[in-house]
Structures are given as structure tokens and as C-alpha cells.
């Protein structure tokens, strides 16, 4: 497939800082994702992975730094979740993607409902599209799940499937997966990994976050390692084997321990 020529980077961040009150969660981060690249984001609990993602998706503004999406400079003060969505950024969060008590079809369309001029929802159309996503995009057949099912009746793997299908349907250019494989069986993890490969086939970009280094390794083109708010590693897959990546991370962790002493 031809490379996307419209823009070089799906997202590019320069010297980005993020404070939560006194907590310095991100320290002068430089980070970019190519237009057709899967970046694996690695780091311990509290390293700042989710914070970085939340800036890109418009949940929180960065405290300082420059920020571009698809080559366009973003004004953090006016940037919002909605705007991020409109610019083709979708997120599959660890467990914050679906609302439990709501019907599946509502979960597909929340935030971008199909409505008439007065804001009333076109239920028929939304349900038809939701059904289409359910059957064809995700391939949920004959498991007793319909668009009227409540999310609370779904297994964890099924929920990720729904969230991923939603992102796929809405044709996002950058799909962010924040620990999408947590608490999934091996079989379900494979499904998720297959999906990430589809993102690449479709010339789209992705950020993949997981504590499972083997999963990250198998899907990513490049690895970015975060530690306590700083980028401490930026390694293309071609430069490193899974074994070496593991060694790098272990060594790094040991070095930290020694420093603490």
C-alpha cells in the first residue's frame, strides 16, 4: 500500500509537561507516531502512559509544550475529546470504554449520536448500524449478544471487542489501545493482536499500551519506554529482539533499584 502522504505524523508532541497539582506526571516528553506506525508504549505503573494518552485524546490539556495532530498545531485550551474524535482519534481504554447499564447500541453511538435537528436520536438507524458492526466488523455471531444487550451481561473480552469494533467502524486514523488485553484469555488476546495488525493494513496509526512485553513486541513497529514521566528509551523493532527488549527493561529496573540504595 502507498504511504499516506497527507501528513508525516499522526501525532507529534514536543517538550510536553503535565502537572496534576504538585504531581509532575510528564517531564518534557518528546513523542511522535508516524502516519502508518504502531508504537508500543511501555512503562511501570504510574510512569505516565495514561497521562500521555489523555493529552492526545483531549481529556486533559498539557501544562506546557507543543502538540500536533496530523501536522496541524493544536491549541490545548480549545482542544477537547470531541475535537480529538473529529480529528480521527479513537481510544480503547482498559475498562472505561463502555457504560455497564446501557444498551450496546447506545454505547456504540454515545458522543456521536445520529440525531435530527432537534437532537432526537434516530434509534432505528443507530441500531441497524450497531448490528452491522456487531456481526460484520467484530464477528459476534450466535453468542446471544444483540444490540439490545446490556453491557453488564458481556464478558471482559467481548467488551474489548465491542470497543475495538466501535473504533474501527468510526474510521479513526489513530487508534489508541490502553491495556486492551488486561484480564483476557490467550484466545481473546490473539483477536486483539489481529485487530492491531488490521490497523496497519489499513494504513492507520496506533499506540499500544500493555504491561505484557510479548504482546507489545508482536504488534509494534517501535517501542517508547517511559519512566516516572520521562522517555528513557525509543527503540525501533528492527534494532532489538524480544529477548533484548526484556533484558533492557530488566536492566533498567535493576539500575533504578541500585540508585535507590
Amino acid at each position: 500500500m502507498a504511504l499516506n502522504t497527507e501528513y508525516e505524523f499522526a501525532v507529534k508532541i514536543e517538550k510536553c509537561c503535565k502537572y496534576y497539582g504538585h504531581i509532575h506526571a510528564l517531564k518534557e516528553i518528546d513523542f511522535e507516531v508516524g502516519s502508518n506506525e504502531v508504537v508500543g508504549l511501555i512503562g511501570d505503573n504510574g510512569a505516565g502512559k495514561s497521562s500521555l494518552i489523555k493529552i492526545i485524546t483531549g481529556v486533559y490539556p498539557p501544562t506546557s509544550g507543543n502538540f500536533y495532530i496530523k501536522g496541524k498545531k493544536i491549541d490545548p485550551r480549545s482542544f477537547s475529546v470531541k475535537q480529538a474524535q473529529n480529528m480521527g482519534i479513537a481510544t480503547v481504554y482498559q475498562d472505561r470504554s463502555l457504560a455497564e447499564k446501557q444498551d450496546l447500541w447506545r454505547n456504540f453511538f454515545i458522543g456521536r449520536q445520529i440525531t435530527n435537528a432537534f437532537g432526537f436520536i434516530n434509534v432505528k438507524k443507530e441500531k441497524a448500524i450497531a448490528k452491522e458492526i456487531l456481526l460484520n466488523t467484530i464477528g459476534f455471531r450466535g453468542v446471544g449478544i444483540t444490540v439490545d444487550s446490556k453491557v453488564s451481561t458481556l464478558s471482559g473480552g467481548e467488551r474489548q471487542g465491542i470497543a475495538i469494533g466501535r473504533a474501527m467502524y468510526f474510521d479513526s486514523d489513530l487508534i489508541i489501545l490502553d491495556e486492551p488485553t488486561v484480564a483476557l484469555s490467550l484466545k481473546e488476546i490473539k483477536k486483539v493482536i489481529n485487530f492491531v495488525e488490521k490497523i496497519k493494513e489499513n494504513n492507520k496509526a496506533s499506540i499500544f499500551i500493555s504491561h505484557n512485553i510479548a504482546d507489545v513486541y508482536s504488534v509494534s513497529d517501535r517501542f517508547v519506554v517511559l519512566d516516572r514521566g520521562e522517555v528513557v528509551g525509543n527503540i525501533p523493532k528492527s534494532d532489538i529482539s524480544l529477548k533484548d527488549l526484556n533484558t533492557f527493561l530488566l536492566d533498567y529496573a535493576h539500575r533504578l533499584k541500585d540508585e535507590d540504595k
Binding site: K101, Q102, T115
Partner: protein, 351 residues
């Protein structure tokens, strides 16, 4: 994967369960049946039902708004103060600007605007300053009630001259000299707000916010604006309820509405809406308001005496809530209540 074939009974059962107002409708039916049996003279004639249609609408309108609030995981304790505040605004303006249709119109605008303003301030406190709504609206309840008492000097205002005028007939007249017009307003609002909650983008936002605000936020719901709109709407509805009450009574008194808080909440809960948030059952609230509104008149009419009203209300409310909860949650059954607990465990130890 194979599809699990459900037993036909299970299928019917799960379809019925989708219609969430069914339990409360059943409770209402039973209640009316009991009243008819105990007091056939009163309950087989239209008069008592007409009096229900006259007294219940203000509480129903409040309960509909409160259903939206609770769906979003919030609470409002200030609406009873709006009943007094908006009632005062209306009566005062009507009396002081000539007691004519124009004065009435200005009074109506002031009552609705005043109610919306109270709600808007609540919304700002909750959405912007992140004050928990139970605290913000409790303070509001004292403040607006206190302000009303100060403004009216504790006196009541008689607006008898409004009887029979255009606006009086429009809101609380009698259709065919029989059916209270306020009932149509209340039913119309029930239908309208059902659509807002279940078919409008705003209502869907309320459900998601009450269910999981984090999901709502990452999916692009503007939580702040939605909450401000929500509380403003609730204030507006309370202002409207105040108009219905004041016009029906053709009188304003400074503590009007003060007894509404608990019955209105009870109506919402009897209807099956849970304080947990995330879903609201408008049709349930409708019947819940009728249950609450019928109990007092009903119990008195049956001749067992007014002392029994509260106890009966408590029983009906507990029954409805338990029924809803057990039907909603497959993991809970009535038997669980009688399982051995920390206090009864020892009773069987002897053997």
C-alpha cells in the same frame, strides 16, 4: 459457539422484565383494587379520581424532573423551596400589577424564570465548583425558602380574582366542567420527558453520566454543560409545579411545598428508578406519583383512619423497591432475606 436455547417461560419473563414500569403498575392496580374492596362507595365513583387528578400533578411534575436528576447520579433537595419562591413571585406580581391577564403573564414568566434561575445556580455549584449536589441543593433549599419568607414577611397572598381568567383556565381549569386541566399538563410532560430521557441526546448523556462519568467523558459527553442544563430544567419544572399549585389553591402561603420533598422522592423510588443512577423510569415515576398521591385520600376513605397513612406508605414503598430490586438483579432472591446472618447464626449451633 452455540446459542443457548432459553426455556419459553424464561423468554417471556425476560421480555416482561424489559418493561421496567410493570411492577409499579401492578402495585398501583393492587392498591386501587384494595381501595375498591374496602370502600366501594368512594372508589367506584369518579369524584375521588378527579380529586387525584387535581392534587397529584404538581408532585408528579417535580418527580419527573427528579427522575432525570437521579438518572444522572445527582439529587435535588431544593425543589420544595422553589414551590414557595416561584409561587411568591407569581402571586406578588399578579397582585401588584393590576390583577389582570397581563399581570398574570408577567407572573408566569417570573415564576418559571425564577425557578430556572434557582436550578441554574444549583447547576453551577454542582458542575463548576464540584459541590456534591446533596450539599449544594440542601443549602439552596434553606436559602430560597428563607428568602421567600423574608420577601413575603411570612404572610400569605390571596389571588382569588384570578379564578376563571384565561391563564387560570389554561393551567388548572376543568375540561367539560369535570376533568382538571393540570392532569393534561402533567401527562403531556410525562410523555415529553420520556422522549427527552429515552430518545434525546441530552437524556442519553444523563444515563451515561449517572452510569459511569469517566466513560461519558472519554466518549465526548460535555458533563459540565449537561449538568448545568439538567439542574436548570429541574428548576424550570419546579417553577411550573409551583404555578399549578398556586393557581389551583388561588392562594400563596409562605411554606407551601414544604411537605413535598419526601413524597416526591418516594414517588421516584417506588417507580423503580434507583438512587444508583444510570437509568430512569419515567412511566414508573408517573405511577409512583399516583400511588403516593392516592394513598392518603385512599386510606382515609377506607375508614381505617388517617393514622395509618404513613405506615401504609412505608409498606407500599418498601414493597415496590424490594420487588424492583429482586426483579432487576438475577443474583438476588427473596430467600436471601432469611439466610442466616451474623445475629442468627448461633441459633442452630445447639444441635
Amino acid at each position: 459457539m452455540t446459542e443457548i436455547k432459553k426455556h419459553p417461560f424464561t423468554q417471556i419473563y425476560s421480555n416482561i422484565k424489559k418493561f421496567k414500569a410493570l411492577p409499579v403498575m401492578g402495585v398501583y392496580l393492587i392498591l386501587i383494587t384494595v381501595f375498591i374492596i374496602l370502600s366501594p362507595k368512594v372508589f367506584t365513583r369518579p369524584f375521588i379520581y378527579m380529586s387525584f387528578l387535581q392534587t397529584i400533578p404538581p408532585q408528579l411534575v417535580l418527580a419527573l424532573g427528579l427522575t432525570l436528576i437521579i438518572t444522572a447520579g445527582e439529587i435535588d433537595l431544593s425543589f420544595s423551596a422553589v414551590i414557595a419562591f416561584s409561587g411568591f413571585l407569581f402571586s406578588f406580581i399578579y397582585k401588584n400589577f393590576g390583577e389582570n391577564d397581563f399581570a398574570a403573564l408577567m407572573g408566569i414568566v417570573a415564576a418559571l424564570g425564577g425557578g430556572a434561575f434557582v436550578g441554574y445556580i444549583n447547576g453551577l455549584l454542582v458542575a463548576r465548583l464540584k459541590v456534591p449536589s446533596i450539599m449544594a441543593t440542601l443549602a439552596a433549599q434553606f436559602f430560597w425558602n428563607g428568602l421567600t419568607v423574608l420577601l413575603c414577611g411570612g404572610l400569605s397572598l390571596n389571588i382569588k380574582s384570578i379564578r376563571g381568567t384565561f391563564f387560570h383556565s389554561l393551567f388548572v381549569g376543568r375540561l367539560f366542567d369535570l376533568i382538571p386541566v393540570q392532569a393534561f399538563w402533567a401527562i403531556g410532560l410525562t410523555v415529553f420527558l420520556w422522549f427527552i430521557l429515552n430518545r434525546h441526546r441530552f437524556g442519553e448523556a444523563l444515563m451515561f453520566i449517572g452510569d459511569n462519568p469517566e466513560v461519558a467523558r472519554v466518549m465526548g459527553v460535555n458533563i459540565e454543560n449537561t449538568k448545568i442544563k439538567l439542574f436548570t430544567l429541574q428548576g424550570l419544572l419546579a417553577g411550573f409545579a409551583a404555578l399549578l399549585l398556586t393557581l389551583e389553591m388561588i392562594n400563596f402561603w409562605s411554606n407551601q411545598g414544604s411537605g413535598y420533598l419526601l413524597p416526591v422522592m418516594a414517588a421516584v423510588f417506588i417507580g423503580g428508578t434507583s438512587i444508583a443512577g444510570g437509568e430512569g423510569i419515567m412511566v414508573g415515576t408517573f405511577f409512583g406519583a399516583f400511588i403516593i398521591g392516592s394513598l392518603e385520600a385512599g386510606v382515609v376513605a377506607t375508614g381505617i383512619g388517617g393514622y395509618w397513612v404513613r405506615l401504609t406508605t412505608g409498606l407500599v414503598m418498601a414493597g415496590s423497591i424490594i420487588l424492583n430490586n429482586v426483579l432487576k438483579n438475577e443474583k438476588i432472591s427473596f430467600k436471601d432475606f432469611f439466610r442466616k446472618s451474623v445475629f442468627t447464626k448461633g441459633l442452630n449451633k445447639g444441635k
